[in-house]
Amino acid sequence: MIGAMMASSYNEDGHITVSGPGGGTLRSKKPENTAFKQQRLPAWQPILTAGTVLPAFFIIGLIFIPIGIGLYVTSNNIKEFEIDYTGEDVSSPCFNCSQSFSWNSTRPCTCVIPFYLEQPYESSVFMYYGLSNFYQNHRRYVKSRDDSQLNGDMESLLKPSKECEPYAMNENKPIAPCGAIANSMFNDTFELFYNDPNGTKVQIPLSNTGIAWWTDKHVKFRNPGLNNPNLTAAFQGTTKPVNWRRPVYELDSAPDNNGFINEDFIVWMRTAALPTFRKLYRIINKTSNMVPTLPRGNYTLEVVYNYPVRSFDGRKRMILSTISWMGGKNPFLGIAYITVGSVCFFLGVVLLIIHHKCGNRSNSADISN
């Protein structure tokens, strides 16, 4: 069609057309009689009136309300427990830690938080840490990483991308992993103990694998020096991020969870969408069908309080949650579906009334009136 334009605009130029005498074309210029060219393509012409639209509203209502109820029930079946351990409050066990703490302090501060689970958690339980007011989605923050470095590229390891600035080099050594995201990695650690009714304190095993995306762990993130078992050597010549206590190759003892492929690190590197977010910390795997994963009773959470949030009025939480097919506990969608379904149903009724009162008028009879 652009061609058509050019042809005609070319003719517009008013060039002297050079054609010898008798060179005229005898072909008729009559347009072709095709449905397309005559704009007569068969077409569906929906007309939006109360009468025609009516069924759609009822159908939507009828479908949405059951879905909403289903979603709501599903969401309600999810058990979730949350502890805020920021320690802003004086009564909080972590108050001391929160007050005395900064990024540079070397002495770890531990606080112990007891809590009571009123319901047993039957299936696997997911342990999250939650942060509020933490703008992990800040534009400059999000950019501040080097994906090639994280992918094990030696060159980037030693010469981080400028996106990492000003967290690319420290003391003339490249930082590994570079960038603000890595630098600000969450470094509180949790330990969960079950206070047996008989007084013993049982540590609950927390699995630290399987918390990151499979593709992240196996494709996106790779340690430098292909399959070099000696990570220390692989990271030779680099320095740890400023805020970190240990270098990256000491994140974990297990070799398949160390260095860049440490899952805690990977989880952190996936920047949250909203300033209030949670990140998966550990999974408490279901051991047997007979015993609930977390029976009801008293528990103790031991937090190694490292991460300062006071500077931005942040909150820190620990969340225990089971999940369903639709993820964590969130009644919103269920409620939304129910609401929308009801609204549609209601509008359907309104339309029905309109249709009955005025519908006849809009029909053909109306035109002749």
Partner: protein
């Protein structure tokens, strides 16, 4: 020209001085020397070297300059600069939002698409330039002493070139020699102006006498002429011979580049202008660029978008500053320092952020909008081109869109200005009747013959429509006679100029012969007149034989023969014979050229010549022709005649030779079109000329040859007579007549034959020496009125015999005028006026110009569509009015205001009173409207013109009055009057007035105007209007060249406007609105997000999606919808023209709609943002895993939104939507799987893949678009039921089965007042109101203000003229006494003696007469009027008062309003008197 002024700098310093002295002279003229004189001194010395050579280069670019130049041109578009600026902003690290390279992609894409398009166009231009530059022509070479072939591009100014028959002229050439014995050269100018008739060009006079071939070597003259200019019809200059003699050069001497040499074996000329300086190239000014109303409106909204963008950016910047500020010195970990590690203050980062936000939000200004609109328009143009119903089979032409970017304007027209001749009518003139010497010859047989044409045509149509296989001819002939009676009643509206087949043949023919349809040719002569002609000529023959002076002939017979001679020779018709183009053979006069100098004149009229001249010249002017009667040869007596014969013999051989080369006219359909051998064909510049010449031929008075100095006529009994043509004073639009000065071969008298528009001529030019003549004039005037009433074009034919002295006297001054350098045109005009006085009226002709097919229907439906139709014509008032009735422009039921004024003051008064009249009359319906309309300036701001047109009033105004009315002081009043009338008819208007009217309406009323016309006189109007439409009809191509759209016929305007205009408008309007919505909705998503990312300019939508969303993912469906969507079917649109109002009122795209769409966009984006927000609140979702669903949701919402707005779903719509979705997911999946480490910062590896496994994603996809679109959907449904727009009702009609629809439509046609028309429609509103009004008037009138109440009071106060009486009572009655001179304007006053001096008190007789009319003014009267509108009208036409009468306000009112009028006129006489007095005072 710039080149020439630069020249001195280039030449040597010594020359500079000399050159500078010459410079002032050079600036005005161009001097051309022959090149061959300077062959040896190549280069430097050649005086012509500074002139452009003949190589043309229309390309814009060279290979090297393409990139910079093209980019430069593209950056003229502000949007491009903006987008590039934003893309470049991305390279600044502090503010960048996207990967800089990526951000460049869309801009580069858009720019390169345009660049490639430009490159391709340029290449095509280059190719065609090459082709043209390498054509051959013969150029004289001094070295070889002969003409050698050269390429066109090698041609230089000053070269001699030889041109052969059928060659195209390579440059503008001054004709120096022609092989033609008359030193003529025929050219066809079709490529320049589209006129296909042959034009004659003359050899420069000084080379006229050369007997032998022109020898370039002997040429040593210098030509001085104008600088190159683009006026095709002007060329001035002179040639200076070595002897110092100067000869003037005219446009007749110049052959223009691009024309084709015809009928001339060989011609030699010197190149005057070459290459780009030729007139053809200077005229070639590319396609026109207009900006449509919709686009203007769109630009306003683009501007609003910019404001919104800035506000959003500012908001974000302030937000960011505050967000930063709240942390104070405690720098949170997520607030990353600048790359240098320095800390940014909140204010600085706010400023940086502002720039970043502009980049992020750039999508709000839709980069693809401009490109998309262009694409959609091209598609629309394509579809309009392809429409079968706009294709005219007869001429094998279809609609041409010459302006590509104003298609949507077609849907918004409010005023149509139409030419009459050739636009409403066929412009195929047919001679109908004539009157000679006061005797009318009605030509009944001719009328019958014309009726037959009509029959045959409708017959044929029926045949083709019913049984295509039927043998056509048979059915026509067998049923014809039976059908005639039947048909003549049933198909009255069916007018056509002949059967289709015939018309087709004619159209093929017309490529060779201008204006000679079969209808013009066959004319059945009136037997009575034919007898008289025969009688007369035989008498003359007799008398000549007996050497009796012809003056003894009875004067009426002499008039008859003179009449026909005038018809035959008073024109510019060229004769050619179809079989042999060079039929013209003649013996030459001894005196070859017409008298051009006084000396020659005196020499020619020496006594000896005068005595012997009579016989000699007549006999020597004989001509032999193959078709001629052999009997004529008996008259060959003089020796010169013998020489003719020998010359003829000599020429026989070359002619035979040439015959082989000359284009043999194609043999058309052997049966029907057997041209008689030797039949003459007339090539006329205008169709009426041809019609008259053919008419004269029917009376055996045929034109057989025309040369510049001689016209040959063949008369019965007398044979061929040659009239020496002394002067031709061509037709011009101010004089409105043309004259020829000839020497009559029989009497040897110098005779002036004039033909011209009647009123002018009769008014000013007729000398009435004795009573008889006066009587004839009166009678002729009566017949003229009758003809005009019949809608015939009238022409008066007159003659004048000049004595030698008179002629000599006139000639002297004429020659002075001709040779004048300054103001030549004006002098010539005056000279012509001097000649055309004291004419003797011979007779008058009535030529019919038939209405085109379907014109009344088209006008009716266009008017129903709410279009105001004004007809601007050059025709005389009566003719125009009658054509207006015939084409239903004026309705017999409506009242007509006629404005004819003789002076500015009279015109002012007339307008004032019309205004009062309208106010008074339509008081009940629209008081306040009229009230306010007296100050139109205040109204022009609100562009509502429609409410003013409710009155059933027609306005007729003539050219002279129009000239006054268009004066600055009166134009507002004129407009106020004109726009309260339903139809306006401007007669006798000049082209300039036409354009002034259009300009006035366009500028003052702020309405969309369309001008349609077919001739050169409409060009200015076409150019002024918002949309110019040219009819590619009879009168050449000038109108088409100037137009935006070219139509083959007027009736196609209906579909073009009602269907294509409506579609184009609604499609484009919806698309533009959708574009704004789409971008706003998408951008708002990011805006909401800023609240959750600390206003940091972060986007959850991957930058790829962000950038390509508009360009790729959501682009196709809207293009398809924008191109193909039909809100209402073509049939319904045509049957319900009311739907057009939709576009006129811009209902699809009103300013508030933009804001509604914006609000909807913000709502939808809120939904699309917050449903995912809450669904993922406090979860472990990451930025882009959360952003990708939002993108998807936005895409779905946008597509479904389009779905709601789409009215017709073809498979292409489905396909495009499916394609969009598929494209998005494919791209997303590929993109997310392609590279695990690339695409920082989002690095969306495997995101989409994971999302597709997430049930939540699907749940979101279902609910979000639904919630987002629920309000719109619900609103549309309610609107469709509760308050459907007319268009929606039309759409509902479409859905009904065909039969029901037809019933409903026929119903609604009767009752226009259906809910379809958004405004109270015409009939229902106005129909009752005049009646009510009338009653009220009548009741209240005698008792003055008793029952009128406050309404009237206000009107009277507002509408009182400054001249009006002061006290209330007077004011009131003044209101009703419409026009002071009204009583004078009653019928038959023209027979009364001219009113002497003062006002004429209305006599009781008059009032009685009025009373009678009042009594009759009931239904029966009006029905009678309806049936015979013409009669009533001629009756009430008030002829002009004698010129000394000062205030000639002429009005007449008609039909139902007569009662009202007379009511007022009975009112006290002194009132009128007083008013008239006042008007007189004002004039004095």
């Amino acid at each position: 020209m710039a080149r020439e002024s630069e020249d001195p700098a280039m030449t040597k310093a010594s020359k500079v001085k000399r050159q500078r002295k010459k410079k002032p002279k050079e600036n005005k003229t161009r001097t051309v020397h022959a090149n061959i004189l300077y062959d040896n001194a190549k280069g430097e010395e050649n005086p012509n070297r500074h002139y452009a050579n003949n190589e043309i280069k229309t390309t814009k670019y060279t290979l090297l300059s393409f990139l910079p130049k093209n980019l430069f041109e593209q950056f003229h578009r502000f949007a491009n600069v903006y987008f590039v600026f934003i893309a470049l902003l991305n390279f600044v690290p502090v503010v960048n939002a996207f990967q800089p390279e990526l951000a460049l992609a869309p801009v580069v894409f858009i720019l390169s698409v345009t660049a490639i398009k430009d490159l391709w166009e340029d290449y095509r231009r280059h190719r065609s330039d090459q082709e043209i530059n390498h054509m051959d022509c013969l150029v004289y070479s001094r070295a070889e002493r002969r003409y050698v072939e050269k390429y066109w591009k090698e041609l230089r100014v000053g070269d001699f070139i030889r041109l052969r028959c059928n060659e195209i002229l390579p440059a503008d050439v001054l004709l120096l020699s022609s092989s033609d014995p008359d030193r003529l050269c025929h050219i066809e100018t079709a490529t320049l102006d589209g006129e296909t008739n042959l034009k004659q060009r003359q050899v420069v006079r000084s080379f006229y006498d050369l007997d032998c071939d022109f020898n370039p070597l002997k040429y040593n003259s210098i030509i001085e002429c104008e600088k190159p200019n683009n006026d095709l019809n002007r060329f001035r200059g002179y040639i200076i011979h070595r002897s110092g003699r100067r000869d003037a050069l005219y446009k007749e001497n110049l052959l223009l580049r691009g024309c084709t040499i015809r009928n001339t074996e060989e011609a030699v000329g010197i190149v005057i202008y070459a290459g780009h300086e030729t007139k053809a190239m200077l005229n070639n000014n590319g396609p026109r660029y207009k900006r449509s109303k919709l686009e203007r409106q769109m630009n306003v909204d683009v501007f609003w978008c910019v404001i919104i963008l800035l506000v959003m950016c500012l908001f974000a910047a302030v937000g960011h500053g505050l967000w930063m500020f709240q942390y104070g010195d405690k720098r949170p970990v997520f607030d990353v320092l600048s790359p240098e590690g320095t800390d940014l203050s909140p204010i600085m980062s706010a400023i940086y952020l502002f720039l970043t936000m502009i980049i992020v939000f750039q999508v709000l200004i839709p980069i693809s909008l401009f490109v998309s609109i262009e694409i959609v328009k091209i598609c629309q143009v394509y579809f309009i081109h392809q429409d079968m119903e706009l294709y005219d089979e007869e001429t094998d032409s279809h609609l041409q869109c010459r302006a590509l970017n104003i298609t949507e304007d077609l849907g918004q027209m409010q005023y149509i200005f139409s030419d009459k001749t050739g636009t409403l009518t066929e412009n195929k003139m047919v001679f109908r009747r004539c009157t000679v010497a006061g005797v009318e010859y009605s030509h009944d047989a001719n009328a019958r013959r014309l009726a037959m044409y009509q029959e045959m045509d409708s017959e044929e149509e029926e045949c083709t429509s019913h049984g295509g296989t039927l043998p056509r001819r048979d059915s026509v002939t067998s049923h014809q006679s039976a059908r005639v009676v039947l048909r003549s009643q049933s198909t009255k509206s069916h007018r056509r100029t002949g059967s289709r087949a015939e018309a087709k043949r004619a159209s093929i023919l017309s490529k060779h012969t201008a204006f000679s349809s079969p209808m013009e040719k066959d004319i059945t002569p009136d037997p009575q007149l034919l007898d008289k002609v025969n009688d007369c000529s035989s008498q003359m023959d007799f008398m000549r034989f007996h050497s009796q002076p012809t003056s003894q002939l009875p004067s009426d017979l002499a008039d008859i023969i003179d009449f026909f001679i005038a018809l035959t020779i008073c024109n510019t018709v060229v004769v050619s014979s179809p079989n042999q183009p060079r039929q013209k053979v003649r013996m030459r006069f001894e005196m070859k050229s017409p008298v051009k100098t006084i000396e020659t004149f005196i020499r020619r009229f020496t006594p000896s010549r005068l005595t012997s001249g009579s016989n000699n010249s007549s006999s020597s002017s004989l001509i032999t022709n193959r078709s001629s009667n052999k009997g004529c040869s008996s008259l060959l007596s003089s020796p010169s005649a013998e020489s003719t014969l020998t010359k003829l013999d000599e020429e026989q051989t070359p002619r035979g030779l040439e015959h082989a080369f000359s284009p043999v006219p194609p043999c058309y359909d052997g049966k029907g079109w057997n041209l008689e051998e030797g039949e003459l064909r007339y090539e006329a510049e205008s169709p009426d000329e041809a019609a008259l010449v053919y008419a004269a031929r029917a009376y055996k008075c045929s034109l057989v040859g025309r040369l510049p100095d001689q016209v040959t006529v063949e008369l019965p009994h007398l044979g061929k007579l040659s009239f020496e043509l002394l002067h031709t004073l061509g037709f011009d639009s101010t004089r409105k007549r043309m004259s020829v000065v000839v020497r009559h071969p029989l009497t040897d008298q110098i005779t002036v034959y004039t033909k011209g528009a009647d009123s002018e001529e009769i008014q000013s030019s007729f000398f009435c020496p004795w009573k008889r003549q006066k009587k004839i004039v009166n009678r002729t005037q009566n017949y003229l009125n009758l003809y005009a009433a019949d809608g015939l074009r009238t022409l008066c034919i007159a003659k004048k015999i000049l004595s030698k002295e008179q002629y000599a006297c006139w000639l002297q001054r004429h020659l002075e005028a001709e040779t004048a350098i300054q103001g030549r045109e004006e002098l010539l005009f005056e000279s012509a006026l001097r000649l055309e006085t004291n004419l003797h009226l011979l007779g008058a002709t009535g030529i019919e110009d038939r209405l085109q097919d379907g014109v009344p229907e088209t006008i009716a439906s266009l008017r129903k569509a709410g279009l105001q139709i004004w007809v601007l014509t050059g025709d005389k008032q009566e003719t125009a009015v009658n054509i207006a009735y015939a084409c239903k422009l004026l309705d017999p039921e409506e009242e007509i205001l006629t404005l004819n004024a003789d002076s500015q003051e009279a015109c002012a008064l007339l307008l004032e009173e019309s205004l009062h009249y309208i106010q008074a009359k339509f008081l009940c319906s629209s008081t306040e409207q009229i009230y306010s309309s007296s100050s139109p300036s205040s109204h022009s701001s609100s562009h509502t013109a429609a409410p003013f047109t409710v009155h059933r009033l027609g306005l007729v105004i003539d050219g002279r009055t129009l000239a006054y009315a268009l004066d600055k002081s009166l134009e507002d009043k004129f407009l106020a009057v004109a726009r309260s009338c339903r139809s306006v008819l401007c007669c006798r208007s000049t082209p300039l007035q036409k354009s002034m009217v259009v300009k006035l309406v366009r500028n003052k009323l702020k309405v969309m105007t369309l001008a349609i016309g077919d001739g050169a006189n409409d060009v200015s109007m076409i150019q002024v209007a918002d949309v110019g439409v040219g009819i590619s009809g009879q009168e050449g191509m000038q109108a088409v060249m100037a137009s935006d759209f070219a139509l083959p016929r007027f009736r196609y305007l209906q579909k073009l406007l009602l269907v294509h205009g409506h579609w184009c408008y609604s499609r484009l309007a919806n698309m533009i609105l959708y574009f704004f919505y789409k971008n706003a909705m998408f951008v708002a998503l990011i805006f909401w997000y800023q609240f959750y990312c600390g206003f940091s300019g972060s986007a959850m939508i991957d930058q790829w999606y962000l950038i390509f969303f508009n360009l790729m993912f959501s682009a196709f469906p809207q293009l398809i919808t924008g191109t193909l969507d039909k809100d209402v079917s073509a049939e319904t649109l045509q049957q319900l023209p009311q739907l057009y109002v939709n576009g006129q009122n811009s209902e699809e795209y009103k300013p508030y709609m933009f804001w509604m769409n914006m609000i909807d966009a913000f709502y939808q984006s809120l939904v699309c943002f917050f449903i995912p927000y809450f669904a993922y609140a406090d979860s472990d979702v990451d930025l882009f895993t959360w952003g990708t669903p939002i993108t998807t949701l936005a895409l779905f919402t946008i597509l479904v939104h389009l779905g709601i707005e789409t009215k017709t779903w073809t498979w292409m719509n489905w396909l495009s939507i499916a394609f969009s979705i598929a494209l998005f997911f494919t791209v997303a999946l590929c993109y997310n799987a392609s590279c695990p480490t690339c695409y920082t910062p989002s690095n969306p590896y495997w995101t989409m893949q994971r999302l597709l496994q997430d049930p939540l994603f699907y749940l979101l996809c279902v609910i979000t678009p639904l919630v987002a679109l629920l309000p719109r959907y619900f609103y549309r449904a309610c609107q469709g039921t509760l308050f459907p727009s007319p268009v929606q009702v039309g759409r509902q009609l479409d859905k009904l089965p065909a039969e029901t629809r037809r019933n409903i439509l026929s119903l609604s046609r009767v009752k226009v007042g259906s809910p379809l028309s958004p405004k109270p429609p015409f009939l229902s509103l106005t129909k009752p109101s005049p009646e009510v009004c009338n009653k009220k008037d009548q009741r209240s009138f005698p008792g003055s203000k008793t029952s009128q109440g406050p309404v009237l009071q206000t009107v009277q106060q507002s509408g009182r003229s400054p001249l009006g009486p002061t006290d209330t009572e007077r004011g009131l009655s003044d209101l009703y006494t419409l026009l002071p001179t009204e009583i004078d304007t009653l019928p038959y006053t023209k027979d009364a003696p001219p009113l002497s001096g003062g006002p004429h008190p209305p006599s009781s007789q008059d009032s009685e007469c009025l009373d009678k009319t009042l009594e009759a003014a009931d239904l029966s009267l009006s029905s009678w009027i309806t049936s015979t509108p013409l009669l009533t009208q001629t009756d009430s036409v008030q002829l002009k008062l004698p010129p000394d009468g000062d205030s000639q306000c002429v009005t007449y009112t008609r039909s139902s309003e007569e009662g009202l009028k007379s009511d007022h006129s009975v009112h006290p006489a002194q009132r009128t008197e007083q008013a008239a007095d006042q008007s007189l005072h004002t004039i004095l």
